[in-house]
């Protein structure tokens, strides 16, 4: 019960649904899953029996791993297991989930099938939530039993999702699902590009598969790679800043974010984007203002890998925010000042060339054509006065 009390107290950690679902997907990737299926099911008008279910085909857990790691607060600091271990603090399942629900049921299969529920009122029990009898869940459980190994995380009693919304709870629930999908295609884009994982939403068909979205457009020939900078920090660890000028004609990136929101820094940890967009409180030295996101820099995106040795200095406990540690700010600033300067020079140069080659739009095209016509014609006095009066009329 002490555990439930602690978890109840730490419910409001500011997790959005997409961030919490990412915690579950991180666990799946850590446990070698090749496929992750996310299901969000709105059962009734008030959402009373609604649930969120995440299924994977990873290694699963044995009783010890489930009871002494997954469903409890670890007694010692999480030690990075290397490789694909995306866990930072070892708390994601609990803190992420309980920001939205009061009950987490874990069904896992390694050597044998184990089912446990961690409930904010009752602690760890063998009780299963009522939604387990829903036809939809039963169907997936049956399929799961035929899997060699894997884990199902089932959130029920979605009090924060169902109670805190006064109207249109159902449609908003599915809007959240859409946001999560968009979030996943960005933060896991490297995994998706390399076919290391398949992430499905509300189905198992190809159409349900999350497409990848590479914010750097690395496979686009028009993307320009600016020189990178290697930085090492006194406290240990280092990183490389990899700046990209993205193409001008990328269009709407369909992430519910503007080009300005998407400019700036992208912090990665083990190929997973932790936080992105903007300049993270960095600005010119001895200036009062930080760099803001604006049109001038909206084609500049910079990849930064968080140093593995010191990642806990950079990542907040709820793993969706990066706070650049003070010891790293000056070095980063120095590199970024140079990168931003390089970027502006390149953009200005490109701007000149581009305007020589092709007009920006139809109106400009017409203007240029008209000017050429006028240049090549010999006018009489009468012609000139006609043109002059026409222009005056236009004014």
């Amino acid at each position: 019960m002490e555990l439930a009390f602690y978890l109840e107290k730490s419910r409001s950690r500011g997790y959005t649904l997409q961030h919490s679902l990412a915690e579950l997907a991180d666990n799946s990737i850590t446990h070698d899953a090749k496929n992750v299926w996310v299901y969000m099911y709105w059962s009734d008008d008030k959402g009373k029996n609604s649930f969120v279910m995440v299924v994977d085909d990873g290694n699963g857990m044995n009783e010890d791993e489930l009871m002494n790691k997954a469903l409890t607060i670890p007694k010692k600091e999480h030690e990075d297991q290397g490789g694909k271990d995306l866990s930072v603090f070892g708390l994601g399942l609990k803190t992420g989930s309980f920001n939205h629900c009061r009950s987490i049921t874990v069904i896992t299969k390694k050597d044998k099938l184990i089912k446990k529920t961690l409930n904010l009122s009752k602690g760890i029990t063998d009780e299963m939530p009522s939604c387990i009898d829903c036809k939809f869940v039963r169907k997936h459980l049956k399929n799961f039993e035929n899997q060699k190994s894997g884990t199902i995380i089932l959130w029920s009693d979605l009090d924060r999702i169902s109670m805190l919304r006064p109207i249109e709870r159902g449609p908003n629930f599915y809007d959240d699902c859409d946001k999560s999908k968009k979030h996943f295609k960005l933060i896991y884009h490297k995994y998706l590009l390399e076919n290391k994982i398949n992430l499905y939403f509300n189905g198992t068909d190809d159409v349900n598969k999350t497409k990848t979205f590479d914010p750097f457009y690395k496979n686009n020939q028009k993307t320009i790679i600016l020189p990178g900078t290697e930085i090492s920090f006194l406290k240990g660890g280092g990183t490389i800043l990899k700046p990209y000028i993205i193409p001008n004609d990328t269009g709407n990136e369909n992430l519910n974010l503007s080009k300005n929101d998407l400019q700036g820094l992208y912090f990665f940890r083990k190929n997973r984007v932790i936080d992105f967009g903007g300049w993270f409180g960095i600005g010119e030295k001895q200036a009062d203002r930080f760099w803001s996101s604006n049109d001038r820099f909206n084609r500049l995106r910079i990849e930064i890998e968080i140093p593995a040795e010191t990642s806990k200095d950079w990542i907040t406990t709820y793993k969706n925010k990066v706070n650049i540690p003070l010891y790293a700010v000056n070095k980063l600033r120095k590199s970024l000042i140079k990168t931003r300067k390089d970027y502006l020079e390149k953009i200005n140069l490109m701007g000149d060339n581009e305007s020589d080659k092709e007009p920006l739009n139809e109106i400009l095209k017409k203007k240029n054509k008209l000017i050429k016509m006028l240049k090549n014609k010999i006018f009489t006095d009468e012609d000139l006065s006609k043109i002059e009066s026409s222009i005056k009329k236009l004014k």
Binding site: D45, K46, G170, F201, N202, N208, T210
Partner: protein
């Protein structure tokens, strides 16, 4: 308890009509027309209407009713009729679209592309 498929189809149409809390004249006309096409008697229709009127959980009723229609052709026919119902009063409500999504989801006829 409704057992007949045509009555179930009518019930879904009515659930959609009541999803926005207002049963419009155009919706009534459409229900009457489809009801006679499906061969559902006026008495039965008014029974279904009063059942739906008393419903306090549209989402749950949509799911439960949709689940009782098993035949693929019936489902396809119903989806078409439901789309007609949504636009019958020339105003599309978010609640109606959501109810249609729920029904389509039950029948694996909903795809949310990204």
């Amino acid at each position: 308890m409704i057992k007949d498929t045509n009555e179930l189809i009518l019930k879904l149409l009515l659930l959609l009509a009541f999803a926005d809390k207002v049963y419009m004249e155009e919706e009534k006309e459409l229900v009457n027309r489809i009801s006679s096409e499906l061969g559902v008697s006026k008495e039965k229709l008014s029974e279904v209407v009063s059942e739906v009127e008393k419903t306090d959980d549209i989402t749950k009723q949509c799911r439960d009713t949709a689940n009782q229609i098993q035949d693929k052709r019936d489902r396809e026919k119903t989806i078409k009729l439901l789309s007609e119902m949504i636009t019958s009063d020339k105003i599309v409500h978010k609640a109606e679209i959501f109810a249609l999504q729920i029904i389509a989801e039950e029948w694996n006829m909903f795809i949310d592309k990204n």
